[in-house]
């Protein structure tokens, strides 16, 4: 459902991604790992239309490259952020409610129609807020939440669009081991048939617990792809990580 061919991203003289080709099948959970600066987040930014890139990205028969971010999101490709991004001045519930913009069933009247027209979406948002375990915080300002809760909010906000492809950028970043376990369970519970997930992570517990396949990036190029346990044993992967990153 997602086919990346020869994707290249350059910033001035720096090549952040070079000739990356990667496929993701319908319903799979693909892990993406690599040392810091290997281009994982750049890949997500290129897929979501934030960075200009060359090459070819096909998502369900649509060429993504060149489309503006809001169009890509409307196609069903939704992401979270490594360095948390929530609307801090809005409540948790409003963050999730507001994330449902430009969805196929949205009409202009819904924009200005007030709360009654949004009642169904509000219920949906509230349900998701509860499912990610933020039911008690639904009416708090998002900026007041602790980091782990803000990550859960990002997840609810992404899921409310019912994405076909979910890109998670370090969903457990900055979390304690207990919080990481909670997040892993949450992601596993929220996976559903027909939804593809690509998850960028450093923590191997989360990767091995969730992923059906694993791709490794180093210096902007894919160096290995395959079954997680097998990939992690490959010498070039071990070498890429040794001394640069500790992993458990």
């Amino acid at each position: 459902m997602l086919a990346i061919e020869g994707l290249t991203v350059r910033f001035g003289g720096l090549t952040a991604l070079e000739d990356v080709s990667l496929h993701a099948a319908e319903g799979e959970v693909l892990g993406l790992i690599g040392p810091n600066g290997s281009g994982k987040t750049t890949l997500i930014n290129a897929l979501t239309g934030i960075y200009p890139a060359t090459g070819r990205v096909r998502f369900r028969e649509v060429d993504l490259l060149g489309l503006p971010p809001e169009r890509i999101v409307r196609l069903g490709l939704v992401r979270t952020f490594q360095n948390l991004r929530v609307f801090r001045r809005m409540t948790v519930l409003d963050n999730v409610l507001a994330a449902q913009n430009g969805m196929p069933d949205m009409r202009f009247a819904d924009l200005v129609g007030g709360r009654r027209r949004d009642a169904e979406r509000r219920e949906r948002a509230r349900g998701l807020v509860e499912r990610v375990g933020l039911g008690g915080d639904a009416d708090r300002l998002a900026g007041e939440l602790p980091l782990a809760s803000q990550r859960r909010l990002e997840l609810a906000r992404a899921l409310v669009r019912d994405p076909a492809l979910l890109l998670l950028d370090e969903p457990s970043g900055g979390m304690t081991p207990a919080e990481t376990r909670g997040m892993t369970e949450l992601i596993a519970a929220l996976a559903c048939p027909g939804r593809t997930v690509i998850v960028v992570e450093h923590k191997m517990a989360l990767i091995t617990g969730l992923c059906t396949r694993l791709a490794v990036l180093n210096f902007g190029r894919p160096i290995a792809i395959g079954e997680p346990a097998e990939v992690l044993r490959r010498p070039e992967v071990v070498e890429a990580y040794l001394g640069t990153e500790s992993y458990r």
């Binding site: 910033f11 987040t41 930014n45 934030i50 952020f81 360095n83 991004r85």
Partner: protein, 299 residues
């Protein structure tokens, strides 16, 4: 053609004053990445300090120049503490608005102390004219041009050749990293502001001495002319400030000659608007602006 050339000479003359004003503006923007819209009023306050000395003690030119510079620096430091130092570092726009409202304070404060519309200012070289064949240029303008050129060299030397300049560039590039590296960012910023204000005071002294009079409206004039000149040249660029000043002067002089006095300022603002929308980095700052934008768009 002769008209056009004389217009250009006149334009370069006023442009020299604009360039001096733009230099201070660009120095502040270069260091803080913020805009001080009260720059003109702080210069105006300095010039009034000079006028006060002149009226009360009939002081000599050197004393008046010093008083003007000190006045501008003191008011500049007040603005820096209130509108820049005290406001959170990521709120560039709040600083700009704050400096705009402090403008009202300064203008009203000066008007309370100096209630008349205009005050006399001692002239230097006021009537001296340098002739080049059929063309002529006021000597005071030539002096301003020379001082602007010296100021550019001095600033470039200060920024790229001294330890202080290194600190300034560090703060400009990344204030947090500079602080971690042991730079006293607050002090560096204050000193850079003081440099800009001193330069502004000098510019104000020369302009007032050329006009032989001063009004509280000078603040408005100085901010807008300096701002347009800096924007044309490119925010933060030192050579750009001089180029922008001269360009603005030449465009205004020709607009005045061919289109009339009402149209002169209109043309200047149209030029500013066009530059902002089509090339917001100006003549010399486009590459730097694009690099900053790219850095800001990282997710």
């Amino acid at each position: 053609m002769a008209d056009f050339l004389q217009n250009c000479l006149d334009g370069i003359a006023t442009g020299a004053a604009y360039a001096l004003l733009a230099l201070g503006f660009t120095l502040i923007f270069g260091v803080l990445r913020r805009l001080n819209l009260s720059y003109g009023p702080s210069i105006m306050a300095g010039v009034f300090a000079g006028t006060a000395l002149y009226m009360a003690f009939d002081a000599g030119l050197a004393e008046i120049a010093v008083a003007t510079v000190i006045g501008a620096v003191v008011v500049g430091a007040y603005i820096e503490r209130l509108c820049f130092w005290a406001i959170r570092k990521d709120m560039a726009v709040a600083s700009m608005v704050s400096s705009f409202v402090i403008w009202m304070q300064i203008e009203e404060g000066v008007t309370l102390l100096f209630p008349d519309r205009t005050y006399a200012f001692p002239g230097i070289l006021a009537d001296a004219v340098v002739e080049f064949g059929p063309f002529f240029l006021r000597a005071s303008s030539l002096a301003m041009l020379a001082i602007a050129a010296l100021a550019v060299l001095g600033l470039l030397g200060l920024i790229y050749r001294t330890h202080f300049g290194l600190a300034v560039r560090a703060v400009s590039e990344n204030p947090q990293a500079a602080r971690v590296a042991g730079v006293n960012t607050g002090l560096v910023t204050l000193l850079a502001f003081a440099c800009a204000s001193a330069l502004g005071g000098l510019a104000g002294f020369l302009i007032a001495a050329g006009d032989q009079q001063i009004t509280p409206l000078f603040g408005l004039w100085a901010t807008f002319k300096g701002l347009i000149a800096m924007m044309l040249g490119g925010m933060g660029s030192i050579p750009g400030a001089v180029l922008g000043g001269l360009l603005l002067g030449v465009v205004e002089a020709n607009a005045l000659w061919y289109l009339g006095v009402e149209t002169r300022d209109l043309v200047a603002y149209m030029l500013l608007f066009a530059v902002l929308t089509f090339r917001p980095g100006g003549l010399m700052g486009q590459a730097a602006l694009m690099a900053r934008r790219a850095a800001e768009s990282r997710v």
